[in-house]
Protein backbone atom coordinates (compact mmCIF):
# COMPACT_ATOMS: atom_id res chain seq x y z
CA UNK A 1 0.00 0.00 0.00
CA UNK A 2 1.33 3.35 -0.96
CA UNK A 3 0.88 6.65 0.62
CA UNK A 4 -1.70 8.74 -1.14
CA UNK A 5 0.65 11.71 -1.35
CA UNK A 6 2.96 9.95 -3.71
CA UNK A 7 0.60 10.44 -6.56
CA UNK A 8 0.32 14.11 -7.07
CA UNK A 9 -3.10 14.31 -5.46
CA UNK A 10 -1.89 16.32 -2.51
CA UNK A 11 -2.40 20.06 -2.21
CA UNK A 12 -0.61 21.73 -5.04
CA UNK A 13 0.14 18.38 -6.61
CA UNK A 14 0.37 17.75 -10.31
CA UNK A 15 -3.32 16.91 -10.57
CA UNK A 16 -4.42 20.27 -9.37
CA UNK A 17 -2.61 22.57 -11.75
CA UNK A 18 -4.90 24.80 -13.69
CA UNK A 19 -4.65 27.16 -16.58
CA UNK A 20 -5.91 29.99 -14.42
CA UNK A 21 -7.03 30.59 -10.90
CA UNK A 22 -10.24 28.78 -10.05
CA UNK A 23 -13.46 30.46 -9.07
CA UNK A 24 -15.04 29.55 -5.79
CA UNK A 25 -17.56 27.20 -7.34
CA UNK A 26 -14.80 25.48 -9.21
CA UNK A 27 -12.92 25.01 -5.97
CA UNK A 28 -15.99 23.23 -4.68
CA UNK A 29 -15.76 20.83 -7.60
CA UNK A 30 -12.17 20.14 -6.72
CA UNK A 31 -13.21 19.38 -3.16
CA UNK A 32 -15.91 17.03 -4.40
CA UNK A 33 -13.38 15.30 -6.60
CA UNK A 34 -10.95 14.90 -3.71
CA UNK A 35 -13.56 13.25 -1.56
CA UNK A 36 -13.93 10.63 -4.26
CA UNK A 37 -10.24 9.86 -4.05
CA UNK A 38 -10.01 9.44 -0.31
CA UNK A 39 -10.62 5.74 -0.28
CA UNK A 40 -8.63 4.82 -3.34
CA UNK A 41 -5.70 2.59 -2.57
CA UNK A 42 -3.00 1.24 -4.83
CA UNK A 43 -1.38 -2.14 -4.74
CA UNK A 44 2.22 -2.03 -5.77
CA UNK A 45 2.65 -5.54 -7.07
CA UNK A 46 -0.45 -5.76 -9.24
CA UNK A 47 -0.73 -3.96 -12.52
CA UNK A 48 -3.75 -2.08 -13.71
CA UNK A 49 -6.14 -3.93 -15.93
CA UNK A 50 -9.28 -3.28 -17.87
CA UNK A 51 -12.51 -4.74 -16.67
CA UNK A 52 -15.70 -5.51 -18.56
CA UNK A 53 -18.32 -4.72 -15.99
CA UNK A 54 -20.76 -7.38 -17.12
CA UNK A 55 -18.26 -10.17 -16.64
CA UNK A 56 -15.60 -9.11 -14.24
CA UNK A 57 -13.47 -12.21 -14.58
CA UNK A 58 -13.57 -13.27 -18.19
CA UNK A 59 -13.86 -9.94 -19.92
CA UNK A 60 -15.87 -9.00 -22.95
CA UNK A 61 -18.45 -11.42 -24.26
CA UNK A 62 -20.54 -10.80 -27.34
CA UNK A 63 -23.49 -12.42 -25.60
CA UNK A 64 -23.37 -9.97 -22.68
CA UNK A 65 -22.95 -7.05 -25.01
CA UNK A 66 -25.89 -8.17 -27.13
CA UNK A 67 -28.06 -8.49 -24.07
CA UNK A 68 -27.03 -5.10 -22.83
CA UNK A 69 -27.83 -3.62 -26.21
CA UNK A 70 -31.25 -5.20 -26.48
CA UNK A 71 -32.23 -4.63 -22.89
CA UNK A 72 -35.22 -2.40 -22.52
CA UNK A 73 -35.72 0.15 -19.83
CA UNK A 74 -39.07 -1.42 -19.01
CA UNK A 75 -39.10 -5.12 -19.80
CA UNK A 76 -42.37 -6.51 -21.00
CA UNK A 77 -43.71 -8.70 -18.27
CA UNK A 78 -45.90 -11.47 -19.45
CA UNK A 79 -46.80 -14.14 -16.96
CA UNK A 80 -47.93 -16.67 -19.55
CA UNK A 81 -45.26 -16.06 -22.18
CA UNK A 82 -42.77 -18.61 -20.96
CA UNK A 83 -45.44 -21.24 -20.36
CA UNK A 84 -45.76 -22.20 -24.01
CA UNK A 85 -42.19 -23.50 -24.00
CA UNK A 86 -41.44 -26.89 -22.62
CA UNK A 87 -38.61 -29.17 -23.65
CA UNK A 88 -41.00 -32.09 -23.93
CA UNK A 89 -43.20 -30.32 -26.42
CA UNK A 90 -42.37 -30.06 -30.14
CA UNK A 91 -41.65 -26.51 -31.21
CA UNK A 92 -44.40 -26.44 -33.78
CA UNK A 93 -46.92 -27.07 -31.03
CA UNK A 94 -45.45 -24.34 -28.89
CA UNK A 95 -45.56 -21.92 -31.79
CA UNK A 96 -49.24 -22.50 -32.38
CA UNK A 97 -49.89 -21.86 -28.69
CA UNK A 98 -47.66 -18.80 -28.83
CA UNK A 99 -49.66 -17.39 -31.70
CA UNK A 100 -52.89 -18.25 -29.95
CA UNK A 101 -51.89 -16.30 -26.85
CA UNK A 102 -51.16 -13.32 -29.04
CA UNK A 103 -54.37 -13.93 -31.00
CA UNK A 104 -52.43 -14.21 -34.22
CA UNK A 105 -53.71 -17.49 -35.56
CA UNK A 106 -55.37 -17.28 -38.94
CA UNK A 107 -58.88 -17.62 -37.57
CA UNK A 108 -61.56 -16.33 -39.84
CA UNK A 109 -62.08 -13.21 -37.79
CA UNK A 110 -58.41 -12.40 -38.04
CA UNK A 111 -58.39 -13.05 -41.76
CA UNK A 112 -61.41 -10.87 -42.21
CA UNK A 113 -59.79 -8.05 -40.30
CA UNK A 114 -56.92 -8.19 -42.72
CA UNK A 115 -59.28 -8.14 -45.62
CA UNK A 116 -58.65 -11.66 -46.77
CA UNK A 117 -61.73 -13.73 -46.03
CA UNK A 118 -65.16 -12.70 -47.28
CA UNK A 119 -67.55 -11.50 -44.62
CA UNK A 120 -70.04 -14.25 -45.33
CA UNK A 121 -67.35 -16.77 -44.84
CA UNK A 122 -66.55 -16.07 -41.22
CA UNK A 123 -68.91 -18.61 -39.75
CA UNK A 124 -67.50 -21.32 -37.59
CA UNK A 125 -66.21 -24.49 -39.12
CA UNK A 126 -67.96 -26.63 -36.59
CA UNK A 127 -71.21 -25.22 -37.81
CA UNK A 128 -72.35 -23.68 -34.58
CA UNK A 129 -73.27 -20.52 -36.38
CA UNK A 130 -70.99 -18.03 -34.71
CA UNK A 131 -68.06 -16.09 -35.97
CA UNK A 132 -64.76 -17.83 -35.56
CA UNK A 133 -62.53 -15.95 -33.18
CA UNK A 134 -59.74 -17.46 -31.17
CA UNK A 135 -61.51 -17.35 -27.80
CA UNK A 136 -64.61 -18.74 -29.37
CA UNK A 137 -62.87 -21.54 -31.18
CA UNK A 138 -60.79 -22.64 -28.24
CA UNK A 139 -63.02 -21.87 -25.28
CA UNK A 140 -66.69 -21.25 -25.90
CA UNK A 141 -67.60 -23.17 -29.01
CA UNK A 142 -69.97 -25.91 -27.97
CA UNK A 143 -68.29 -28.35 -30.30
CA UNK A 144 -64.60 -27.81 -29.62
CA UNK A 145 -64.94 -26.04 -26.31
CA UNK A 146 -66.53 -29.06 -24.76
CA UNK A 147 -63.23 -30.88 -24.90
CA UNK A 148 -62.16 -29.07 -21.74
CA UNK A 149 -65.06 -30.64 -19.92
CA UNK A 150 -63.90 -34.07 -20.97
CA UNK A 151 -60.32 -33.33 -20.07
CA UNK A 152 -61.27 -32.17 -16.63
CA UNK A 153 -63.27 -35.23 -15.89
CA UNK A 154 -60.43 -37.41 -17.17
CA UNK A 155 -57.87 -35.97 -14.81
CA UNK A 156 -60.43 -35.47 -12.10
CA UNK A 157 -60.27 -31.77 -11.40
CA UNK A 158 -62.92 -29.11 -11.29
CA UNK A 159 -62.64 -25.50 -12.20
CA UNK A 160 -64.43 -22.44 -13.38
CA UNK A 161 -63.59 -21.10 -16.80
CA UNK A 162 -62.54 -17.59 -17.53
CA UNK A 163 -63.20 -15.84 -20.80
CA UNK A 164 -59.69 -14.90 -21.70
CA UNK A 165 -57.37 -17.35 -23.39
CA UNK A 166 -54.28 -16.26 -21.46
CA UNK A 167 -56.08 -16.39 -18.13
CA UNK A 168 -57.50 -19.75 -18.95
CA UNK A 169 -54.09 -21.16 -19.75
CA UNK A 170 -52.67 -19.84 -16.55
CA UNK A 171 -55.57 -21.13 -14.53
CA UNK A 172 -55.48 -24.52 -16.20
CA UNK A 173 -51.88 -25.08 -15.27
CA UNK A 174 -52.64 -24.39 -11.64
CA UNK A 175 -55.73 -26.58 -11.50
CA UNK A 176 -54.23 -29.10 -9.19
CA UNK A 177 -51.96 -27.16 -6.92
CA UNK A 178 -48.55 -25.71 -7.33
CA UNK A 179 -46.55 -28.89 -7.39
CA UNK A 180 -44.03 -28.58 -10.20
CA UNK A 181 -44.62 -32.00 -11.70
CA UNK A 182 -48.33 -31.42 -11.80
CA UNK A 183 -48.01 -28.01 -13.35
CA UNK A 184 -45.70 -29.36 -15.98
CA UNK A 185 -48.11 -32.17 -16.80
CA UNK A 186 -51.04 -29.79 -17.14
CA UNK A 187 -48.92 -27.54 -19.28
CA UNK A 188 -48.28 -30.40 -21.70
CA UNK A 189 -51.93 -31.24 -21.65
CA UNK A 190 -53.05 -27.74 -22.44
CA UNK A 191 -50.56 -27.26 -25.25
CA UNK A 192 -51.54 -30.58 -26.73
CA UNK A 193 -55.24 -29.77 -26.64
CA UNK A 194 -54.68 -26.46 -28.35
CA UNK A 195 -52.62 -28.15 -31.02
CA UNK A 196 -55.16 -30.87 -31.65
CA UNK A 197 -58.13 -28.54 -31.67
CA UNK A 198 -56.38 -26.32 -34.17
CA UNK A 199 -55.50 -29.28 -36.35
CA UNK A 200 -59.00 -30.63 -36.16
CA UNK A 201 -60.35 -27.26 -37.18
CA UNK A 202 -58.00 -27.22 -40.14
CA UNK A 203 -58.90 -30.77 -41.12
CA UNK A 204 -62.56 -29.94 -41.07
CA UNK A 205 -62.00 -26.84 -43.08
CA UNK A 206 -59.54 -28.03 -45.68
CA UNK A 207 -59.76 -31.79 -45.81
CA UNK A 208 -63.40 -32.24 -45.07
CA UNK A 209 -62.70 -34.93 -42.51
CA UNK A 210 -64.32 -34.86 -39.15
CA UNK A 211 -63.32 -36.38 -35.86
CA UNK A 212 -65.80 -36.56 -33.04
CA UNK A 213 -64.95 -34.95 -29.76
CA UNK A 214 -64.59 -38.36 -28.10
CA UNK A 215 -62.03 -39.40 -30.68
CA UNK A 216 -60.26 -36.13 -30.16
CA UNK A 217 -60.04 -36.87 -26.48
CA UNK A 218 -58.53 -40.27 -27.22
CA UNK A 219 -56.01 -38.56 -29.44
CA UNK A 220 -55.09 -36.27 -26.60
CA UNK A 221 -54.47 -39.21 -24.30
CA UNK A 222 -52.42 -41.09 -26.86
CA UNK A 223 -50.30 -38.15 -27.83
CA UNK A 224 -49.61 -37.24 -24.27
CA UNK A 225 -48.51 -40.78 -23.54
CA UNK A 226 -46.19 -40.67 -26.54
CA UNK A 227 -44.65 -37.42 -25.50
CA UNK A 228 -44.04 -38.68 -22.01
CA UNK A 229 -42.62 -41.97 -23.20
CA UNK A 230 -40.41 -40.29 -25.74
CA UNK A 231 -38.83 -38.18 -23.05
CA UNK A 232 -38.73 -40.70 -20.31
CA UNK A 233 -37.61 -44.23 -21.05
CA UNK A 234 -38.49 -45.46 -17.61
CA UNK A 235 -42.12 -44.61 -18.08
CA UNK A 236 -43.55 -48.12 -18.04
CA UNK A 237 -47.28 -47.74 -17.82
CA UNK A 238 -49.35 -48.96 -20.73
CA UNK A 239 -52.30 -47.19 -22.14
CA UNK A 240 -54.77 -48.90 -19.88
CA UNK A 241 -53.66 -47.55 -16.56
CA UNK A 242 -52.85 -44.28 -18.29
CA UNK A 243 -56.43 -44.03 -19.43
CA UNK A 244 -57.83 -44.52 -15.99
CA UNK A 245 -55.46 -42.52 -13.84
CA UNK A 246 -52.77 -40.35 -15.40
CA UNK A 247 -51.67 -38.77 -12.13
CA UNK A 248 -51.04 -42.17 -10.66
CA UNK A 249 -48.86 -43.18 -13.60
CA UNK A 250 -46.81 -40.05 -13.17
CA UNK A 251 -46.42 -40.76 -9.51
CA UNK A 252 -47.97 -37.46 -8.53
CA UNK A 253 -51.46 -38.46 -7.46
Amino acid sequence: MEDIYDRGWEDGGEVWRWRRRLWAWEEELVEECRILLINVALQTNVSDRWQWDLDKDDGYKVRDAYQALTQRAAPILDATAHLVWNPQVPQKVSIVAWRLLKDRLPTKINLKRRGIAQVTDTMRVSGCGQEESAPHLFLHCHVFGSIWQHIRSWIGVTGVDTDNVNDRFHQFIHYSGHLKARRSFLQLLWLLCVWLVWNERNNRLFKNTETSIEQLLDKVKFHLLWWLKANNTTFVYGSQSWWSNPFYCLGID
Binding site: R7, E14, R19, E26, L29, D48, R49, V62, A65
Partner: protein, 210 residues
Amino acid sequence: MINTIKTRLTGWQSRFLSYGGRLILLKSVLTSLPVYALSFFKAPSGIISLIESIFKKFFWGGSEVNRKISWIAWSSICLRKEEGGLGVRRLKEFNTALLGKWCWRMLVERGGLWYRVLVARYGEEAGRLEVGSRSVSPWWREIAKIMEEVGENDGGWFVERVSKVLGDGKNAYFWLDRWVGEVPLCRRFARLFDLTTNKLLAYLILQQIS
Protein backbone atom coordinates in the same frame (compact mmCIF):
# COMPACT_ATOMS: atom_id res chain seq x y z
CA MET B 1 -23.53 -12.78 -48.33
CA ILE B 2 -27.13 -12.33 -49.26
CA ASN B 3 -26.58 -14.81 -52.04
CA THR B 4 -25.29 -17.38 -49.58
CA ILE B 5 -28.44 -17.01 -47.57
CA LYS B 6 -30.62 -17.25 -50.63
CA THR B 7 -28.90 -20.36 -51.93
CA ARG B 8 -29.28 -21.98 -48.58
CA LEU B 9 -32.96 -21.20 -48.63
CA THR B 10 -33.70 -22.59 -52.06
CA GLY B 11 -32.37 -25.91 -50.87
CA TRP B 12 -34.80 -25.98 -48.01
CA GLN B 13 -38.09 -25.54 -49.80
CA SER B 14 -39.73 -24.03 -46.79
CA ARG B 15 -43.20 -25.31 -47.54
CA PHE B 16 -42.31 -28.78 -46.35
CA LEU B 17 -41.17 -27.58 -42.98
CA SER B 18 -43.28 -26.82 -39.95
CA TYR B 19 -43.05 -23.54 -38.08
CA GLY B 20 -40.97 -25.30 -35.49
CA GLY B 21 -38.53 -26.59 -38.08
CA ARG B 22 -38.25 -23.23 -39.71
CA LEU B 23 -37.66 -21.52 -36.42
CA ILE B 24 -34.82 -23.89 -35.60
CA LEU B 25 -33.22 -23.39 -39.00
CA LEU B 26 -33.65 -19.67 -38.71
CA LYS B 27 -32.10 -19.42 -35.30
CA SER B 28 -29.32 -21.90 -35.69
CA VAL B 29 -28.32 -21.58 -39.31
CA LEU B 30 -29.60 -18.45 -41.00
CA THR B 31 -28.69 -15.98 -38.27
CA SER B 32 -25.28 -17.61 -38.03
CA LEU B 33 -24.40 -17.37 -41.70
CA PRO B 34 -23.53 -13.68 -41.61
CA VAL B 35 -21.62 -13.87 -38.32
CA TYR B 36 -18.19 -13.73 -39.88
CA ALA B 37 -19.00 -10.72 -41.98
CA LEU B 38 -20.82 -9.02 -39.14
CA SER B 39 -17.95 -9.58 -36.76
CA PHE B 40 -15.71 -7.47 -38.90
CA PHE B 41 -17.79 -5.00 -40.85
CA LYS B 42 -20.54 -2.70 -39.83
CA ALA B 43 -23.42 -3.74 -42.03
CA PRO B 44 -25.30 -0.90 -43.72
CA SER B 45 -28.84 -0.65 -42.44
CA GLY B 46 -30.18 -1.40 -45.91
CA ILE B 47 -28.43 -4.74 -45.92
CA ILE B 48 -29.67 -5.54 -42.43
CA SER B 49 -33.26 -4.90 -43.36
CA LEU B 50 -32.86 -6.85 -46.58
CA ILE B 51 -31.56 -9.86 -44.69
CA GLU B 52 -34.25 -9.55 -42.07
CA SER B 53 -36.93 -9.38 -44.70
CA ILE B 54 -35.59 -12.63 -46.15
CA PHE B 55 -35.75 -14.15 -42.66
CA LYS B 56 -39.28 -12.94 -42.14
CA LYS B 57 -40.44 -14.36 -45.41
CA PHE B 58 -38.83 -17.67 -44.63
CA PHE B 59 -40.30 -17.90 -41.16
CA TRP B 60 -43.84 -17.21 -42.26
CA GLY B 61 -43.52 -19.70 -45.09
CA GLY B 62 -43.37 -17.38 -48.04
CA SER B 63 -40.89 -17.53 -50.89
CA GLU B 64 -39.67 -15.33 -53.69
CA VAL B 65 -42.90 -15.72 -55.57
CA ASN B 66 -45.68 -16.07 -53.04
CA ARG B 67 -46.25 -13.77 -50.15
CA LYS B 68 -47.50 -14.72 -46.74
CA ILE B 69 -48.89 -12.69 -43.90
CA SER B 70 -46.42 -11.77 -41.20
CA TRP B 71 -48.75 -12.30 -38.31
CA ILE B 72 -46.45 -10.99 -35.65
CA ALA B 73 -44.10 -8.05 -35.84
CA TRP B 74 -40.49 -9.00 -36.32
CA SER B 75 -39.52 -6.90 -33.34
CA SER B 76 -41.65 -9.02 -31.03
CA ILE B 77 -40.29 -12.21 -32.56
CA CYS B 78 -36.86 -10.95 -31.63
CA LEU B 79 -37.78 -10.50 -27.99
CA ARG B 80 -36.51 -13.07 -25.59
CA LYS B 81 -38.82 -15.95 -24.82
CA GLU B 82 -39.56 -14.71 -21.32
CA GLU B 83 -40.78 -11.51 -22.86
CA GLY B 84 -43.09 -13.28 -25.24
CA GLY B 85 -40.86 -13.47 -28.29
CA LEU B 86 -39.08 -16.33 -29.99
CA GLY B 87 -35.57 -15.24 -29.16
CA VAL B 88 -34.39 -14.62 -32.72
CA ARG B 89 -31.33 -12.40 -32.92
CA ARG B 90 -31.61 -8.80 -33.94
CA LEU B 91 -28.93 -8.34 -36.52
CA LYS B 92 -28.16 -4.69 -35.94
CA GLU B 93 -27.51 -5.07 -32.23
CA PHE B 94 -25.72 -8.34 -32.80
CA ASN B 95 -23.48 -6.61 -35.29
CA THR B 96 -22.63 -3.87 -32.81
CA ALA B 97 -21.94 -6.41 -30.10
CA LEU B 98 -19.55 -8.30 -32.37
CA LEU B 99 -17.75 -5.13 -33.31
CA GLY B 100 -17.49 -4.23 -29.64
CA LYS B 101 -15.19 -7.19 -29.29
CA TRP B 102 -12.64 -5.30 -31.36
CA CYS B 103 -12.86 -2.34 -29.05
CA TRP B 104 -12.25 -4.63 -26.15
CA ARG B 105 -9.30 -6.30 -27.79
CA MET B 106 -7.82 -2.92 -28.47
CA LEU B 107 -7.75 -2.33 -24.76
CA VAL B 108 -6.36 -5.65 -23.66
CA GLU B 109 -4.39 -7.16 -26.53
CA ARG B 110 -1.72 -4.64 -27.10
CA GLY B 111 0.90 -7.04 -28.37
CA GLY B 112 -0.68 -8.22 -31.61
CA LEU B 113 0.64 -7.22 -34.99
CA TRP B 114 -2.76 -5.89 -35.97
CA TYR B 115 -2.64 -3.53 -33.04
CA ARG B 116 0.83 -2.31 -33.90
CA VAL B 117 -0.29 -1.68 -37.44
CA LEU B 118 -3.12 0.46 -36.15
CA VAL B 119 -0.78 2.34 -33.88
CA ALA B 120 1.53 3.01 -36.80
CA ARG B 121 -1.32 4.20 -38.94
CA TYR B 122 -3.36 6.26 -36.50
CA GLY B 123 -1.11 6.93 -33.55
CA GLU B 124 -1.58 6.23 -29.89
CA GLU B 125 -2.35 8.64 -27.12
CA ALA B 126 -3.16 8.10 -23.46
CA GLY B 127 -3.16 4.37 -23.89
CA ARG B 128 -5.68 4.34 -26.67
CA LEU B 129 -5.62 4.69 -30.39
CA GLU B 130 -6.30 8.00 -31.94
CA VAL B 131 -9.31 8.24 -34.14
CA GLY B 132 -7.59 10.38 -36.70
CA SER B 133 -9.30 13.09 -38.58
CA ARG B 134 -7.66 12.44 -41.89
CA SER B 135 -9.18 10.03 -44.31
CA VAL B 136 -9.49 6.84 -42.36
CA SER B 137 -10.71 3.43 -43.38
CA PRO B 138 -14.45 2.93 -43.04
CA TRP B 139 -13.78 -0.04 -40.82
CA TRP B 140 -11.78 2.05 -38.40
CA ARG B 141 -14.37 4.78 -38.44
CA GLU B 142 -17.08 2.37 -37.32
CA ILE B 143 -14.95 0.83 -34.58
CA ALA B 144 -13.94 4.24 -33.35
CA LYS B 145 -17.57 5.27 -33.29
CA ILE B 146 -18.33 2.54 -30.80
CA MET B 147 -15.33 3.49 -28.67
CA GLU B 148 -16.09 7.17 -28.68
CA GLU B 149 -19.83 7.02 -28.38
CA VAL B 150 -21.08 9.23 -25.62
CA GLY B 151 -24.71 9.64 -24.77
CA GLU B 152 -27.47 9.27 -22.26
CA ASN B 153 -29.55 6.39 -23.47
CA ASP B 154 -28.13 4.22 -26.19
CA GLY B 155 -24.78 5.78 -26.88
CA GLY B 156 -21.76 5.00 -24.84
CA TRP B 157 -22.83 1.47 -24.10
CA PHE B 158 -19.27 0.29 -24.50
CA VAL B 159 -17.48 3.00 -22.56
CA GLU B 160 -19.99 2.75 -19.77
CA ARG B 161 -19.28 -0.90 -19.22
CA VAL B 162 -15.52 -0.85 -19.33
CA SER B 163 -13.57 0.27 -16.31
CA LYS B 164 -10.06 0.20 -15.06
CA VAL B 165 -9.23 -1.79 -11.97
CA LEU B 166 -6.39 -0.10 -10.18
CA GLY B 167 -3.32 -2.06 -9.33
CA ASP B 168 -0.14 -0.09 -9.01
CA GLY B 169 -1.63 2.73 -11.02
CA LYS B 170 1.07 2.67 -13.63
CA ASN B 171 -1.29 2.29 -16.53
CA ALA B 172 -4.25 4.33 -15.48
CA TYR B 173 -5.05 7.78 -16.71
CA PHE B 174 -6.35 10.06 -14.05
CA TRP B 175 -8.85 11.95 -16.16
CA LEU B 176 -9.56 9.65 -19.03
CA ASP B 177 -10.01 6.18 -17.61
CA ARG B 178 -13.01 5.22 -15.61
CA TRP B 179 -11.40 3.97 -12.44
CA VAL B 180 -13.54 5.55 -9.78
CA GLY B 181 -17.25 6.21 -9.96
CA GLU B 182 -19.65 5.66 -12.81
CA VAL B 183 -18.10 7.89 -15.45
CA PRO B 184 -14.53 8.97 -16.17
CA LEU B 185 -13.47 12.02 -14.18
CA CYS B 186 -13.08 13.98 -17.38
CA ARG B 187 -16.83 13.76 -17.84
CA ARG B 188 -17.92 13.99 -14.24
CA PHE B 189 -15.81 17.09 -13.71
CA ALA B 190 -15.85 18.37 -17.24
CA ARG B 191 -15.14 21.89 -16.06
CA LEU B 192 -12.00 20.91 -14.20
CA PHE B 193 -10.85 18.74 -17.07
CA ASP B 194 -11.22 21.75 -19.27
CA LEU B 195 -8.99 23.78 -17.01
CA THR B 196 -6.33 21.27 -16.15
CA THR B 197 -2.89 21.71 -17.60
CA ASN B 198 -2.23 18.05 -17.83
CA LYS B 199 -5.08 16.25 -19.52
CA LEU B 200 -3.15 13.05 -20.10
CA LEU B 201 -2.17 12.74 -16.49
CA ALA B 202 -1.06 9.26 -15.68
CA TYR B 203 0.27 9.04 -12.22
CA LEU B 204 3.19 6.81 -12.91
CA ILE B 205 4.86 9.85 -14.39
CA LEU B 206 4.28 11.73 -11.20
CA GLN B 207 5.92 9.12 -9.11
CA GLN B 208 9.03 9.26 -11.19
CA ILE B 209 9.18 13.00 -10.90
CA SER B 210 8.80 12.96 -7.15
